[in-house]
């Protein structure tokens, strides 16, 4: 196991202490790097631009559009009463899609509840997402070829699971990494601290990705922490924290790819703070106008993650208005089909609540299931 924090040899400290009597001197410091590749007007730093072929850049943009089209439809379906309470991802598409693009099939992902963009980019079936948000638990089972944990609703409590999976991977000698997604609110939770600490101590192959959308329901990030950045928190646990422009899909992808490579190669954990913004309400049950100024929201609309990539592509001659219209048409078509598929699935049978209660039902659970099914037959 890697020594996270090797102490300086005792005699060198002693000799320094002699040099500076009654010493006060710096024994520890940190630097927090910020990564930006694409600015809000679509100008790219070519040196930092990941070497994507043109086709890949178009595909990335279409994934952003698909994530936004999903979100747009989910909000509509909620208003129509066809799904339940729903947390919008509007404005966070680049942080989600950009990071997911760097994740390999061999990696394991522990998402929070506002990562539908990442789930879509990872290949999680969209009909299952709609079914989950419509209250059908069968939407929580990820396909067998995809190692994506069911989303974590209890804020930040999945971070220790990511550390544990990474510990297991390390023990097994598997060349893979673990990714955990969470928001700025999670950084105030004890499990954030405990998981980061464990990841640092054991040098675990895990990448922690925070979508700092600056609001945890009504509490702004300045009220979550007095720290200047969230990224700097990682340094206290003995590993690197970086901040990226979370609305810059290239920067997020670049940072995540590098962190995953480092993790898979035994270089230990990384914390990536994606600074982004939640353009919508916390959920469909929330009204953000109660606690934050419109001007702030407007300012962030100008930093729209889709817009800047579109401007970039237009400048490079990769994209036209016709492409834009077609991309949205395709995305909405995919979403239409997914909604149809989700809504045509037969509703779960009441007895199914027992299906995965445990591996083997107790005699009492078996009786309860039978009673439920008998009531169902009698319609009482």
């Amino acid at each position: 196991m890697r020594r996270a924090n090797p102490r300086p040899p005792v005699d060198s400290r002693l000799s320094r202490a002699k040099l500076v009597s009654m010493a006060e001197y710096i024994i520890d410091s940190m630097t927090v790097k910020r990564i930006e590749v694409l600015d809000p007007r679509g100008n790219a730093d070519e040196a930092l631009l990941p070497p994507f072929p043109d086709e890949e850049i178009r595909r990335i943009y279409e994934l952003l559009v698909l994530a936004r089209a999903f979100d747009e439809r989910a909000l509509t379906l909620q208003r129509e009463g066809r799904i339940g309470t729903y947390p919008s991802i509007l404005g966070q598409e680049a942080a989600q899609v950009g990071s997911a693009l760097a994740i390999g099939k061999e990696d394991r992902v522990f998402p929070s509840f506002r990562e539908m963009g990442a789930q879509i980019a990872l290949g999680y079936p969209i009909p299952l997402l709609f079914r989950y948000w419509a209250g059908d638990e069968r939407g929580m089972r990820s396909p067998d070829d995809l190692d994506v944990f069911p989303i974590c609703v209890s804020v930040g409590t999945h971070l220790p699971h990511a550390a544990g999976a990474a510990l297991a991977a390390q023990l097994r000698g598997d060349r893979c990494a673990v990714v955990a997604y969470f928001g700025d609110g999670a950084t105030s939770k004890g499990d954030f601290h405990e998981a980061f600490n464990m990841a640092g101590v054991f040098g675990l192959p895990v990448v922690f990705i925070c979508q700092n959308n600056q609001w945890a329901i009504s509490v702004p990030v300045e009220r979550q922490t007095a720290a200047k950045t969230l990224a700097r928190k990682a340094w206290a646990y003995g590993f690197e924290g970086v901040q990226v422009d979370g609305n810059d899909v290239f920067a997020v992808c670049r940072a995540t790819g590098a962190a995953l490579e480092k993790a898979r190669g035994g270089g230990g954990p990384t914390f990536i703070e994606c600074l982004t913004y939640r353009l919508a309400d916390h959920t469909t049950a929330d009204d953000a106008s109660r606690y934050r100024p419109d001007a702030e929201v407007e300012e962030w609309r100008n930093r729209d993650p889709l817009l800047r990539l579109r401007l970039f592509m237009e400048r490079k001659g990769l994209w036209s208005d016709a492409d834009e219209n077609e991309a949205w048409e395709r995305a909405r078509g995919t979403i239409d089909e997914a909604v149809r598929e989700a809504e045509s699935a037969p509703p779960p049978e009441p007895g199914e609540m027992f299906d995965f209660a445990c591996a083997n039902l107790s005699p009492r659970q078996q009786r309860q299931r039978e009673e439920l099914e008998v009531r169902q037959v009698r319609q009482v």
Partner: protein
């Protein structure tokens, strides 16, 4: 071989780790130190620091990490040093371990054992003598087990480690070194979900578990009392309990925990619902009062004593 419960649990861990390389131990001071009660003595030397892991002082993360390890395909056995410290990990146990199979619709499961010493009477500081097993029994998706002696501890721990779902394994601290008995080497399983008739009798059924079994047995001497050792607290073996109560017509439940909403309440309700027409008198509960576990000076007045159990037997036998 004659051994106490500490040695029996150690042997169970050693044998299961040798049998299955997916079994890993993690906890505070479990490695080099062998655990504060020496339960894992020698295991790090035998299996290495990757399989016997000294974690940072983080109950939530060590249980949470064990959940992640279990979902990855390992079989972690996590130690919480004392039951009073498990409260920091309740979120992990309730919000995740208990429901991972259900909320992933079977894609992931959590074959995890959380072992912890529990119970009063060891002259330890605050929060070192808790007996809050009923909290865990209320939560679907986890099993709760409490052995009452070395032989049973070894066989039950083997079953717990091999169980496909999370198990809270409560080790009665007071009995750790009190009882020595013959414990065979090699595999034998004491099944989960099955109670044991520790003593046969016809006039009254005494139901106890874990730390209280020893006192219930002492109290039963000289009475025509059947003593049931529950062993698995959730899901508990209602059939064995009801068969005995239907035969004897009288039931006394002995629990170390405070009276209100304890496991005894569930047992009493089950007896009332399923066997009330067989009863000759009320179901009696001998339990701790509804107060915080006192420290050593008063703990003898808190724990159900042999005398209090006998008084309950005398009372019920009047019916």
């Amino acid at each position: 071989m004659q051994m106490n419960m500490v040695q029996a649990i150690n042997l169970a861990l050693r044998e299961e780790m040798a049998r299955d390389d997916r079994v890993v131990l993690l906890g505070e001071d479990v490695g080099k130190d062998g655990g504060v009660f020496r339960i894992s003595e020698g295991l790090q030397d035998a299996f290495g620091p990757q399989r016997v892991i000294d974690t940072p002082l983080s109950e939530s993360a060590l249980v949470g990490a064990a959940i992640g390890m279990a979902a990855y395909g390992l079989v972690p056995v996590a130690e919480i040093q004392f039951m009073g410290f498990i409260y920091a990990a309740m979120d992990q146990i309730f919000s995740h371990a208990a429901r991972l199979r259900s909320r992933s619709r079977g894609r992931y499961s959590c074959p995890l054992v959380v072992r912890t010493p529990y119970g009063a009477g060891i002259k330890a500081p605050e929060l070192h003598e808790e007996s809050t097993e009923a909290l865990f029994c209320q939560m679907p998706g986890i099993k709760v087990v409490a052995p009452s002696g070395p032989y049973l501890a070894k066989g039950l721990l083997l079953s717990a480690i091999r169980d496909p779902d999370p198990v809270i394994f409560l080790e009665p601290t007071r009995l750790y070194r009190m009882i020595r008995e013959e414990v065979p080497e090699g595999e034998y399983a004491v099944p989960l979900g099955k109670a044991r008739i520790a003593r046969e009798g016809g006039a009254v059924t005494v139901i106890a578990w874990g730390s209280m079994l020893e006192r219930a047995m002492k109290a039963a001497e000289g009475y025509d009392a059947e003593v049931i050792d529950l062993l698995t607290l959730s899901p508990f073996d209602a059939e064995t309990v009801l068969d005995s109560v239907k035969k004897s017509g009288r039931a006394v439940i002995v629990q170390e925990a405070p009276l209100t909403c304890g496991l005894g309440a569930e047992l009493a309700a089950t007896i009332a619902q399923e066997a009330i027409l067989h009863l000759r008198g009320p179901v009696l509960r001998v339990a701790a009062p509804d107060v915080t576990v006192p420290l050593a000076k008063l703990v003898d007045h808190y724990l159900p004593s042999v005398e209090r159990i006998r008084a309950a037997l005398d009372e019920i036998l009047k019916y």
